[in-house]
């Protein structure tokens, strides 16, 4: 019974989002603004995990929303907006990282950089735990070692690990984002863990 309630609530939430996407597709800017509110954290977070720089992540997130808005009419299944947007973000972040099309990722309005007020003091990144309290961060050396090791993973494995293990996105949705099977998501996560195990031996 409880499970049915949850499913029903999920369906309501999903249908509400589909309605938003439909309105945004039809030119309702308020609806698109609501989608920005819903997804901006996730898009910046995914980009940050892939790029390691908060300002680049913010730029990539903004570019992803711009592209999503321009190409919303091409989205056939409106219920997959989230997966579609995260695929755009992931691809842009990887492109950015590879240095390809770096200039293309920045539109004419080059001066539209992150406003001062959008930044946090210091690095621009604040780390918080699930309860909103300041999280106990990993020792710098270990954090750097993990970042370096993750940076050496093949792109699909890194993406699978970031989306599934770090962002906590269900495997089915990760499969949609990566446009592959759920089994391949599991395999890529496994391969990523296995490689990290070798690269981080001295910390285990």
């Amino acid at each position: 019974m409880e499970s049915h309630d949850l499913e029903a609530r999920y369906e309501v939430a999903e249908s509400a989002e589909v309605a938003l996407v439909r309105r945004a597709r039809d030119g309702d800017s308020e609806a698109f603004s609501d989608l920005v509110d819903i997804y901006q954290r996730r898009t910046v977070s995914v980009a940050y995990r892939l790029l390691g720089n908060i300002e680049d992540a913010s730029d990539v997130s903004q570019e992803a929303f711009i592209r999503a808005y321009r190409h919303l009419g091409q989205l056939e299944d409106l219920s997959r907006f989230g997966s579609w947007l995260l695929r755009v973000v992931s691809n842009l972040a990887l492109d950015f990282r590879r240095g390809r099309k770096r200039r293309e990722a920045v539109s004419l309005d080059d001066s539209l950089t992150l406003p001062e007020e959008a930044r946090q003091p210091g690095t621009g990144l604040r780390l918080t735990g699930a309860d909103g309290e300041e999280a106990e961060s990993l020792p710098d050396e270990l954090q750097t070692a993990i970042d370096d090791a993750m940076g050496q993973l093949p792109e699909k494995q890194r993406l699978a690990l970031v989306l599934f293990s770090i962002e906590g996105i269900p495997q089915k949705q990760v499969a949609e984002i990566l446009e592959c099977s759920v089994e391949l998501v599991k395999w890529n996560v496994f391969q990523a863990r296995k490689k990290l195990k070798e690269m981080l031996t001295e910390y285990l």
């Binding site: 901006q40 001066s111 930044r119 699930a130 961060s137 990993l138 089994e183 990290l196």
Partner: protein, 223 residues
């Protein structure tokens, strides 16, 4: 790096999936049997578990920005191109400047601008005349500089072939917005003409000539 082919029966793969509580009963039993038989496998699984723990520690840290400001920035970028009220005001300014209805005939508009700034001779008082036309300050200064550049560069340089005006909004720290315009003069080859430019504003070419683009950027009066 050689990629390992997919092998659903790899015991370590089962161990990885067990960390995600993703095993069926039969798979769990198979993993337990394999672990019972191999000390080295148990050691590897323990390392895999520690790796997963480290990765999840990374996940515990959430990225934080001023999300309201960030959302405003995205909205400004995404929705600026659809601000029809500003479009109308800009068109009115350009119509005043070029003397034609830009929305109706952009080519005629460019021709009018080029007539004003692209003539191959320079008469005294020309620039001051342009300023008096009520042209937006940025555009006038840009025209004057481009005009000067034509003559400083010598007679071998062809006439101005492109006039483009692009504008964008910028969110201020106080949450408002400021607009800036870029007026560009180019001498792009005619073959680079793109009828449906992706840049906001107006961009088109009337004459092909030597490839020496010139750009000038200036603050424009608020639209």
């Amino acid at each position: 790096m050689i990629e390992e082919p997919y092998n659903p029966n790899d015991p370590l793969f089962l161990a990885s999936r067990s960390l995600d509580e993703d095993l069926s009963e039969s798979e769990r039993q198979r993993l337990e049997d394999a672990l019972a038989d191999s000390e080295s496998l148990r050691a590897e699984v323990e390392k895999l578990r520690q790796v997963d723990h480290l990765v999840r520690r990374v996940a515990d840290n959430e990225v934080e920005l001023d999300w309201d400001a960030h959302a405003r920035l995205i909205r400004a970028k995404v929705l600026d191109g659809r601000d029809t009220e500003r479009e109308k005001k800009l068109d009115a300014l350009l119509a005043h400047w070029g003397g034609v209805e830009v929305g109706v005939d952009k080519r005629a508009f460019t021709a009018a601008v080029v007539r004003k700034i692209g003539v191959p001779t320079r008469r005294p008082g020309r620039r001051s005349l342009i300023f008096r036309l009520g042209v937006p300050l940025a555009a006038a200064v840009a025209i004057a500089l481009a005009f000067t550049g034509v003559f400083r560069s010598g007679s071998s340089i062809g006439p101005i072939s492109e006039v483009s005006i692009s504008r964008f909004a910028m969110v201020t720290p106080a949450g408002g917005s400021e607009s800036t315009s870029i007026v560009s003069f180019g001498r792009q080859p005619a073959e680079s003409y793109v009828p449906e430019s992706t840049t906001p504003g107006i961009s088109f070419i009337v004459l092909g000539a030597s490839p020496m683009p010139e750009d000038y950027m200036e603050e424009a009066p608020p639209l």
